[in-house]
Amino acid sequence: MTTSSNENSRPFSRNELMAVELANRLRNDDVTVMGTASAIPQVACRLAQLTHAPDLYSIAGGTCSVNPHLGPVVPSCCDYDLLRADTSLSLNDVVLLEGRADVLTVFFAGGLQIDAYGNCNLVSVGDYAHPALRGPGTVGLPFLSRVGRVLIYTQSHNPRTFVEKVDFLSGPGFLRGPADWKAADLPGGGPQLVITPLCTMGFDPDSLRMRLETVHPGVEVEQVRAATGFELIIPDSVPVTPEPTAEQLSIIRTLDTNGLLKGK
């Protein structure tokens, strides 16, 4: 990851900025689900609940607790601590609801590879039969095809992660583009957002290809272009991502007593 030289002087970490960026996109009527290693989206959801979206529900895939209270934020999605929560479901219930496609509105996704159409790959890099890198496996990523909005986040913004076409499609984005996407007639709304340590990206409504929205404070557009392994759509004018407010940072730090998001 490329970071600007004055990064460490900022009053927030990149992880905290990403959590705030995610939180800002959440709505009061959302029902969100997150999976493996989901400290950032967990903080994003709790932050949203404690600010503009008090009625938002967030489900910690794994334990399947609903609205975990956090404090401390924990790194594992299956942690016993997550059961300090409003309520709890079973994993089977959550998998069922992931099939219904009209209840769960947001899933936080990621991947070893993320391509220009927002398809994700958590399975393997290179030839599947003889992989250069074997990833852990897809977990629930096929669910991307059925959820209202897919919010992608990754801590790796480099040309190995952001590729023109994933080597193995395990989490459907806009497939191979508009014609393919229309023909598939999937119940989900597709990927809406990609947040990285460098920038926030969306998708062009016509081509359904990834498009730069904002660069994070201290990051240059050229840095993003160089770190992206496909031709990213870059508008003429690219604003800077708004910084977290003092209130947002204060809430995050009340939750993240172990400083999990402080690292980067």
Binding site: N92, T138, P142
Partner: protein
């Protein structure tokens, strides 16, 4: 008739060498039935095919480290925020273990089908737009939805021969209480022909029956109960202790190459009885125990 057995006897009697499909409970670094798994390695009970929960961790990687399995049906093997699972990665990249690529929804629905004697399970729309069914034609297929005429993706039922599971406590009949997350362990119990249960403690049926609705696994599905306090270590046991990230990192470093992995297995499994192993880690375990004050779910609640 008590089903409580010594660890060694439980594995001897109920895990045949070359078992066709064995499944291991727990998810990520939580509730992995490590004592049972270490004993399977000690007794060199080879496994034709391993099935993990939607997220396998040390329960799968240690079996691969010890060279115990030919094939693995899984949707994930890794150490979550800590990193990749070294032996799984190496074995798949090297082609020494065959993967039956699955996704989380198929594993849970497939266990439901296995538990319920359903011939197969129709899957929600979406999986057919991934590469997963293309590389696993044994577990995924397609058929006609007779109500609409559409071709739809379906999964084969998952019917493990043996399940190795962890529970917080059980009575001598095997009526078991799972504290904290249940993951898919109950469906594994419902779908498997033989169930071996490791527990933190054995309690009386009278105690269990104070909370009849808190019991997750009914005794009639359970073939052996093994009392191994600390037996999930170095993974977490919900209600008892947190996972040991230091030991996981030590394992990951040791297992970076095949000889290191074999050496780790020799030192910490094969050349060590379970009692010796748990004696050696007793200090760490005591540091990892959930303190009474910090219990997210109070002891009085865990039986729900």
């Amino acid at each position: 008739m008590s089903k409580v057995l010594a660890l060694s006897e439980a594995v001897e009697r109920f895990v045949p060498n070359g078992v066709g499909l064995l499944t291991v409970g727990g998810m990520h670094l939580h509730n992995n039935p490590m004592a049972l798994i270490r004993e399977v390695i000690r007794q060199d009970r080879k496994i034709k095919r391993l099935l993990t929960s939607p997220c396998g961790a040390l329960n799968a990687d240690l079996l691969i480290a010890a060279g115990m399995i030919d094939e693995i049906a899984t949707s994930y093997v890794g150490f979550e925020h800590i990193g990749l699972a070294p032996c799984f990665r190496r074995a798949v990249e090297g082609g020494t273990v065959k993967v039956l690529e699955c996704d989380e929804a198929y594993i849970t629905h497939g266990l439901y089908a296995g538990a319920g004697g359903l011939p197969f399970i129709a899957l929600p729309k979406g999986i057919e737009f991934t590469d997963i069914p293309k590389v696993n034609r044994e577990n995924y297929s397609f058929t006609t939805d007779p109500f609409t005429g559409n071709q739809v993706p379906v999964g084969a039922p998952l019917k493990p021969d043996v399940a190795l599971l962890h529970a917080y406590e059980a009575d001598t009949h095997g009526n078991a209480v799972v504290a904290g997350g249940h993951f898919v362990d109950r469906y594994m119990a419902l779908a498997s022909k033989t169930v071996l249960l490791q527990v933190e403690k054995v309690v009386s049926t009278e105690e269990i029956s104070k909370h009849p609705q808190g019991t997750t696994i009914p005794g009639f599905l359970v073939h052996a109960v093994v009392e191994v306090p600390g037996g999930c270590y170095p993974t977490a046991s919900h209600g008892a202790y947190q996972f040991d990230d230091q030991e996981i990192v030590r394992y990951m470093n040791a297992a970076k190459d095949e000889s290191g992995a074999k050496e780790y297995v020799r030192e910490f499994v094969k050349d060590t009885t379970e009692i010796e192993y748990l004696d050696n880690v007793a200090g760490r375990l005591s540091q990892l125990r959930y303190g009474d004050g910090s219990l997210p779910v109070a002891l009085s609640d865990r039986k729900r």
